[in-house]
Symmetry: C2
Subunit: 341 residues, 2 copies
């Protein structure tokens, strides 16, 4: 058996006509929004794309593996949504406008119902953001999804991680810790989480319009995929600065706030500080931009909360409601669990 017996390369349209993998391919051809800058779509050796002369190309690739990033029996429509949302969140964090996606899908077998639902979830989010699926590859193996997203922006407007300056205010969008609480409740085996909370885990909203609106205002930006402490830590490291954040300022949904309050004696803030998958944006901006940022928040109906300040000394300091301060040095950002009450 050669590799080609097991493979349906969409680019080469090599799935035998009528085969299950050919059926799969049909779910993906034409997915998303048609765009005049797609010169050649699925069906040749490559897709051909046109980048305007005044724009740069922003790209990011991410893999979701069944059993690690989602469960094989998770709702496939949500898995389709999330597999694109993760990449769109990276584009948002640069201030880029999404344009195209490619999808490499590895499946144990060709389950048409699963694929159809996956494509619906992927396609709905692609439609919402004007994205066209321009290429892909289907292979047989352990369930795994790799998506590359491609966005456009004037190069000198990209919001990088290294621009935070002492005195900048630190902001986050939305609320923190919802995805982790949903996962904990689901894994806890009790009552399933509230639908709103579940959606925060399964169908994260990439903050694309917000990221774009912050170009020229934010000095540094990142999306919160690994938790606030770790991701803000990347901004601090890249910018050569430190920060202090106030735990009581962290924006929390009532469900997460209640969960943290339950443990008021030695409150466990890790839900808000070190749990991932929220896909909110964290950014820095000089206080002179406060009014502009609040206007953006109102215009986009997107909550934006100031949580602290950048300072010159390295390290991330957490001020507890009682006034105690815990300082994390750089190596502590990543695998962080905090009892700072």
């Amino acid at each position: 058996m050669t590799a080609s017996d097991m493979v349906a390369r969409w680019s080469s349209a090599s799935a035998p006509a009528g085969s299950e993998f050919d059926l799969i391919r049909r779910f993906f051809v034409g997915l998303g929004v048609p765009r005049p800058d797609v010169l050649l779509e699925i069906g040749d050796d490559c897709a051909l794309l046109s980048v305007p002369a005044d724009q740069s190309l922003a790209v990011s690739i991410d893999t979701l593996v069944a059993g690690t990033h989602f469960l094989a029996d998770d709702d496939p429509e949500s898995v389709g949504h999330k597999s694109l949302a993760v990449g769109l969140s990276d584009l948002a964090a640069m201030g880029a406008t999404p344009a195209w996606a490619t999808l490499a899908l590895t499946l144990p077998r060709a389950e048409v119902d699963w694929i159809a639902a996956f494509a619906r979830g992927f396609g709905a989010l692609a439609n919402a953001h004007g994205v066209r699926l321009v290429g892909g590859d289907t292979t047989r193996g352990h369930l795994s999804i790799t998506v590359q997203v491609h966005g456009l922006l004037p190069a000198d407007t990209a919001v990088r991680r290294g621009g935070a300056r002492p005195g900048d205010r630190i902001w986050v969008s939305g609320t923190l810790g919802d995805a982790a609480l949903a996962l904990a409740l689901r894994q806890g085996g009790g009552a399933p989480p509230d639908p709103w909370l579940s959606a925060r885990l399964d169908r994260p909203t990439p903050r694309v319009a917000l990221g774009r609106a912050l170009r020229g205002l934010a000095t540094a930006m990142i999306d919160l995929s690994d938790g606030l402490a770790a991701d803000l830590g990347h901004i601090l490291a890249a910018s050569g600065v430190g920060a202090e954040i106030a735990l009581e300022a962290l924006p929390l949904s009532p469900l997460v706030a209640a969960r943290i309050a339950e443990r008021r004696q030695g409150a466990d803030w890790s839900l808000a500080l070190s749990s991932g998958d929220d896909y909110e944006l964290c950014f820095c901006a000089p206080p002179g931009q406060d009014a502009a940022i609040r206007a953006i928040s109102a215009a986009l109906d997107c909550p934006l909360t100031p949580i602290g300040r950048i300072h010159a000394e390295s390290g991330l300091s957490l001020r507890s409601p009682a006034g105690a301060i815990l300082t994390l040095e750089r190596d502590g950002y990543d695998h962080f669990s905090c009892d700072a009450a």
Copy 2:
């Protein structure tokens, strides 16, 4: 456990410093050739790339899964080479010049020696083609490699599949069936294949310079990943034409020719017609271009062989050395095994 515990997104530099996955990341940062059109490399939410105003972007994504496309105990340097070569071959088939690659690597564990060798193989081929690795993602799971390649070319010079016209000559580069013979010998359990033959399977040479040289000459082109009959079949379908090829004209290495001759009574041409992984180019051009094509062959030291002609009637006809003709209709191209002597 959240997903982020298991994941090292290079884009977010989220691998804990000193962790095994952080070590892995270090093998990939700076891989390939530095390029002025890479505005922002690994280490932010996205890579930022600059596409010249007169160029279009060609992209292709492919996954290699252990156990299907290679074996988990295959030489990792070869696996690194092949995982990039497959994509570069797609760029070659459009006539595009390779520029950048992204890599999503799923590994069961962080075996540093394996990764180092993989990166050497990937990096050596990237260096040979002026490619920069600009982004990636490392996840834990069943061994699998997804690479997206990005190439550049003036949009109206791309060689697509749909341009073949009656009267065009059909050409192939190199020799056919070597990779499949190497695989058959290896799986047969006998003496290991000759090193040259093994390299044809493990370290295919993407015909990048050839593809670029054929812009403006070839009317249609494809790379041979799934076998001549299937891949030429895609050109015929896209162009709305048919073809006749002469079996005795097919370019064969002495080893493959001997293997086919062994079975002279009912010779099995499937090795040359329907075995994949050769990554040679198949293209069409009017006979008036013969001299130009032979000049390219000489200049690039790349064998190019005319194997047949395009005609208006649909179907692919195979003329055997004895003069018999077998015609394959479109549905027969893909899973084709031929006894046409």
